[in-house]
Each structure stands twice: as C-alpha cells, then as structure tokens.
Symmetry: C2
Subunit: 189 residues, 2 copies
C-alpha cells in the first residue's frame, strides 16, 4: 500500500532539521573520549556543556532494498585545535555505503578503512557529495564559522556501530593549522 | 583503497548537471508511446523534437550495500494536457527503493504499485523528499514553468527496468485541469 504519510518528508537545509521530527542532540559531554586534547576537553566541559550536533532520520521501511536518510547539523567551534565533530561510526552491516550531501557551511569528513587503517579527509560542502564506501569508519566535522548541515542516505539495514570507534577512536585526528584542517596520526600528536 | 576521485562528486542544482559528466538526453522522439494524446504527440513531433529531460549518474561501486545517485532535469512543457515527463521505470531488482530529493522547480511523481496497480501522485519540490518503495513504478513530471531538477539515490544493484512500463504504460495519466495536475485512469480518458 502506498501510504503517503510515510513516503513524504521535508527538511530545512539551513536549520538542519526535518519538519515534524524531534532531533537527537549531542552535547560536549556526550563526546567523552573523542577529542585528543583531554585537558582542553575537561576545561571546556567545566565551563559549559554546549550542543555540538543534532541528527534526525527518515525511516520509511526496514526491508531489504529499503533506504533511510538523515539530516545532520554540526555547530561551529573547537576543543583545543580540534573541530566540533560527530562521534563517528561504522555500519553494523559493514558492506553498507552512505552518500553525504553537503547543504550549508564548510565541513570535512574523516574516512578510515577498517581493515587497513588507511585514512583520508575530504571536503563536505554545499552541492558536494561524499561517498563513504562500506567497511569505512566516518566522522564529520565543522571546519567553518557557521553551522554545517548535510544529508546522509544509507541502506535501511546498515545499522550504526558506534562502539568499535569508541574503543579505539580514529587512527588520525584533524586539527586546525594556519586556519586550515590538517590530518595527523593520533600517535604522533 | 580510498580512491578519492571515485568518492567525491559535485552537482549544480540549478543546471541539473553533474560536474564533469555528460548527461543522457531524452527528446520528444524518445518518449514514443508515453503520452496519452497520440495526435498531440505526432503534431508536436512533426514540428520539432525538443529536449524533454536529461539524467546523469554517479556510480562509485557496484557491490552489495553500495549506492548510486543520479541528477535529473525535466524541461517545462506539455503535450496536449500532459506534462513533460520521464519514461518511468521499475527497478530490475524489485525490492530496491529510491529517495528523490527535489532541488528546483515544481514537480509531481506518479507512483504505481506493480502488484495492485494502486496509483498515487505526490509533489516533488525543493527541500521535499519522496520515498519510492520497492516494487513501485515511478515517473517524474514537470508541472511548473521552469526546469525541474532533483536527485535520486538508489541501491547500486537496483537496475532500471524500462521495458515493463513501455509495454503497458502506467495505469493512470496526469493531466492539467484548471492549472493543476490531476490523476485519471488512462482507460477513462
């Protein structure tokens, strides 16, 4: 049956919201362990617990061949030299890929191949699209001065595995150097 | 291996094009058999063979869990009371769904459940999203006065089956009545 209510959705690219949906909010406290500069993290958290990002998803169906999409909004800001970022995740079903469509602001995605650890940073900008292949951990960060918003489209059965990243974190960090995002190995910091 | 060239793409929402890609073009002649008013079709074709729409696709990989996306642009215009439209298709792998993201202009999608023939029309507009479930034939049309552009995201293994629609056409047609799109059964025209 073609149930129109489940088939239609609307998003606000500037606000980074889905009409009629309550987003999940992630604050600085939720990002415990994500930032490399622990002293800067603790100092910032002692002062306040700002909102770092929100996500909301459209999930019309959950069968094989179905798709979901989400909208994300990351606030501008830094902890030490690291940009406000998402926790990052792998897909529980590892082969599942994801397309990210930049809407507003200036972002960077950190991609890490799970098997080899190979890491790359790529821009996420309005009208730009990033393909995250399967088996690839991905984290999004706001490297600009205004909110970053984007859409992500993925197979309905992808699933979100946050725990693998939470255990080991990404192999690389992205920090600001001379006003630009630069990727470095975490162990060489 | 994270091959950045295959992972990054850019589109122009207004032009309805992918940067660096040559689009497929469909002209009035290519839409033979699609429009209900055959006399109007033949009359129009005798005068000229205008471009009706273009499509271009990004196909980073073709495995299970991979995704593709395309950008479409439909010109404004009508043949008789029917709007310029795409041929329409089912996915060869029937369970494959598709998300359509409206970019510019004013569109309508005709959805038809393959098994039951149940048909619905839904708007496709900027910041609006249409979910096309699996097993659902879908055709897009421009019901406005300016070009309609949109993105479609689908599983890499969806495949495009145009032949089923070409044999029987959609059960319903969408025609302009009092300046608005209205769906009617083809046999009741």
């Amino acid at each position: 049956m073609l149930d129109l209510k489940s088939l239609l959705s609307n998003y606000d690219p500037k606000a980074g919201t889905l009409l009629g949906a309550v987003p999940v909010e992630r604050t600085l406290r939720d990002l415990q362990g994500c930032f490399a500069d622990r002293a800067a993290y603790e100092t910032a958290l002692a002062q306040s617990n700002p909102l770092l990002y929100t996500v909301a998803a459209v999930e019309p169906a959950r069968g094989e061949g179905d798709l979901h999409y989400g909208i994300g909004k990351i606030m501008p800001g830094k902890i030490g030299d690291e940009y406000y970022m998402t926790k990052g995740h792998l897909h529980s079903w590892r082969p599942a890929a994801e397309f990210y469509f930049g809407l507003t602001g200036d972002g960077v995605m950190l991609l890490e191949d799970e098997a080899s650890g190979e890491s790359k940073i790529v821009p996420l900008q309005p009208n730009g699209v990033v393909y995250v292949p399967g088996h690839t951990a991905h984290r999004t960060m706001n490297v600009g001065a205004t909110p970053l918003t984007y859409l992500g489209v993925y197979p309905a059965n992808a699933g979100h595995d946050y725990s693998t990243i939470a255990k080991t974190n990404f192999r690389c960090v992205v920090i600001e150097r001379d006003g630009k995002p630069v990727m470095m190995e975490r162990k060489k910091l």
